[in-house]
Symmetry: C2
Subunit: 124 residues, 2 copies
Amino acid sequence: MSKQAAPLGLVDLSADAPCCPPLARRRVPAETAAALAPAFKALGDPVRLQLMSMIASADGGEICVCDLTPAFDLTGPTISHHLRTLREAGLVDAERRGTWVYYRARPAALRQLAALLTVEPTRG
Amino acid sequence: MSKQAAPLGLVDLSADAPCCPPLARRRVPAETAAALAPAFKALGDPVRLQLMSMIASADGGEICVCDLTPAFDLTGPTISHHLRTLREAGLVDAERRGTWVYYRARPAALRQLAALLTVEPTRG
DNA sequence: GGACTGTCTTGACATCCGTCGAAGCGGAGA
DNA sequence: TCTCCGCTTCGACGGATGTCAAGACAGTCC
């Protein structure tokens, strides 16, 4: 369930989207901004930024929700909500395996965002 | 009025903050997440993402508000509000010169965010 | 000094967002 | 089958956010 590019209003941050010269090199057009802003917004919460980091840096490339939840002073539903936000932003993928649900990062999405923010070494 | 590093609750994204190995390499600690999330949140709006791009890609490194406002179907105060958000996130600097106000990007801040999102070419 | 221009601030309002408790669903084990 | 456990969804609430109209402030030109 992770094959289609942008299911149902999800952001398309798939690897093959040939997206985006650096933001500082040329003006980002409105459509591109509208497509990428949700990803930045998803990272714009401290909890989600930590979740994203825990997922992206996990050994084996994936991590169980049961390892994420106890790292915060928040209820299960709240963590679940944040994970959903990251999922809908196209930053992570989820997979149920038996009792547990595992999350893994989408490196291509992170790479796109990083590329957009890239700045020339020191121009001028 | 643009000399001090992090005045009054602003995010410290100054160049000398030795901040942040990639998010995918090691878990981002809570304080770091709290410090950086506002910058991502500021970029999490399509209008601000475009503004940021227009400012960062401007010839001469700076751009007048009078050139920013007409690019959107929004009122002056609304644009001003978004610019303030970018300023308080430490992403841009403002300077009044005569009648007009000029904005310029803070490359160091963008670099920090880009570095945080950096992913190994293809690990594994 | 006075009028004009450009930008920011204030106040108000509708909407969105983070959070929780309660309930639902799916799988595992007795 | 029945119960327990993990995770998600639903419904609700308070606070934050995006937007605008009106007013305030800074600087220029006559």
